[in-house]
Symmetry: C2
Subunit: 339 residues, 2 copies
């Protein structure tokens, strides 16, 4: 017999428990896995021993033996704009919380789009957004790892995705402004490399077109979702000739910045300019003028992604690809007024 590890191994294993309880390791395994076919007094003995030895089964051995893994890998593109956001935090919170509840381990991967995932061992993967990392999805799909993509509607690949209906949400925001009598409506976009931002822009366009309002490109201000660029946009927007009477901003954080900037430039909100945001970020409530916004069910999306992934990870059930689009809701507060 060869001792590989020098010195006595510190970790207590199922063997120690078995010895102490006076049963076989099989029986201990059964108790751990809550098999019902164990005599009550044996079960008690084992549980006693487990407690006494403070035994915790080795997840690695379990996984090796079963071939199953309960690790959920959350892939977030390492991309400033995305990461510095209400959005990212909500997602992590939502997913983290549900994983905890579902006894799943959450592995966080902040990744450059190009690099391979090498995610063998992952029981399932959640892709938060897509920014140049479709190859990673393909890689995972090839390896037959269950995947869910969130915040990006993927229609060209057989993968479950859960996204927000940004287009309708944005359109609703714009149409609301139109219904208030606004005709000169600007849009501060998010980072257009994200699907969310580009769809919001599209929704903005569609909302105007539906009411025969010409889309004026000078009214479209592209940003990277950052507060700084929002401020810059707001400054241009307020000082241009024929300034818009309303603006739809692609995130609440930026909308708040636009509001502040506008006020500093002597404009009243909503007196001189009406503002609609996107997110329903609680920060929007605290200003002197509560922000009208488009609520998107971020936490629901996050939680649903874990649920869907669990379904896919469950080997009993047949995997079923779903394409889910979550609706938004216009939340009318104080930052808009009829013209």
């Amino acid at each position: 017999m060869v001792r590989i590890r020098k010195g006595p191994s510190k970790t207590i294993s199922i063997k120690d428990v078995a010895r102490l309880a006076g049963v076989s390791i099989t029986t201990v395994s059964r108790v751990i896995n809550k098999a019902t076919t164990v005599k009550e007094h044996h079960r008690l003995k084992v549980q006693e021993a487990v407690k006494q030895l403070k035994f915790q089964p080795s997840v690695f051995a379990q996984r090796l033996a079963t071939g199953r893994s309960n690790v959920v890998t959350l892939v977030i593109p390492r991309y400033e704009g995305i990461f510095y956001s209400f959005y990212a935090l909500e997602l992590i919170r939502g997913i983290g919380t549900l994983c905890a509840v579902s006894k799943l381990d959450l592995l966080l991967r902040l990744t450059e789009g190009g690099t391979p995932l090498a995610a063998r061992g992952a029981g399932g993967i959640i892709f938060a957004d897509f920014v140049g990392n479709r190859s990673q999805l393909n890689e995972a799909l090839e390896q037959n790892i269950p995947c869910v993509v969130i915040n990006h509607y993927v229609d060209d690949l057989p993968v479950t995705c859960i996204a927000i209906d940004n287009l309708s949400g944005a359109q609703a925001a714009v149409e609301y402004l139109v219904s208030l009598g606004h005709r000169c409506i600007a849009h501060v976009t998010g980072d257009i490399v994200t699907q969310a931002a580009s769809q919001r822009l599209q929704g903005y366009r569609r909302g105007l077109e539906k009411h025969k309002i010409r889309v004026d490109d000078r009214y479209i201000f592209k940003t990277d979702y950052s507060r700084g660029q929002a401020r810059a946009a707001a400054e241009k927007l307020c000082t241009m000739e024929n300034p818009p009477t309303a603006v739809f901003v692609a995130s609440d954080a930026m909308a708040l910045e636009v509001m502040t900037t506008a006020k500093e430039l002597g404009k009243s909100v909503p007196g001189d300019i009406s503002i609609v945001g996107f997110d329903d970020n609680p920060s929007g409530l605290y200003g002197s003028v509560a922000l009208t916004t488009v609520r998107q069910p971020l936490v629901k999306m996050a939680q649903d992604s874990v649920k869907e992934l669990s379904l896919l990870m469950d080997r009993e059930k047949k995997p079923q690809v779903k394409k889910i689009l979550l609706p938004t809701e216009l939340v009318i507060r104080e930052s808009c007024r009829p013209l």
Copy 2:
């Protein structure tokens, strides 16, 4: 011979690679682990086979065999105030990035303080802050898992910790205000259950006392770090009798809110009231009045924690407990003026 799994196993193992390359699995293992004692032509054959079969070694088997784990568990108390912050995001980013670089897996645990960690399998643990979860640290320590605590100076336990010198930072902020001639200086605290917030409060006190200024409890406004409570504090602060001429706020996010609120109430910043924040959150730069603040090296703390943990996880080296206090830096911008 018993086939446990029904059907042929899909996953390709080291054996398949060995067969294809015409060598033993040991040799394959050596190539994988970059052992130098492999003949060049064997190495090439193996690498060829690996590529062809798209082989990825099973981390579980590796860990089981070596007894080592490269999983870093980041424990974050599930606690609103902490989680909704610049701070949390910076931490996750810093730690996530460095883990990626160091080839460590990052497991995220959002946890209720009371619940046991059951972190067997973790190669190391980083505790981000402490809010009622010291029992989890004790549990990990008992199991001999390398631990690092960040943002909380732990002097009563033999554990490496990396914290910010909040006390000095806060004191410096207050003394700066004093040096400008201010005598009526208020403080908007963070959530006092966190060590950071309570030390900033202490630093505030000390700064005043050092200059023989009486600490007036009416000037201390306790919050939970939220924007809402910051606003409430600002309103009280601006409308009280003998309003302060300066205020030190425990976070930049709140300081910005205080600034906005003060302006809305007709106060000029820094004309009527000087403001100092804490964090050096980039948001502080974008307002019309750039925020004077105390810079804390969050990312450094995050990254150092991974480095220290790596050291502890390295079985070659002797574990060495360190107590690290990172200095802050006063960043003077535009939100304060001499009285």
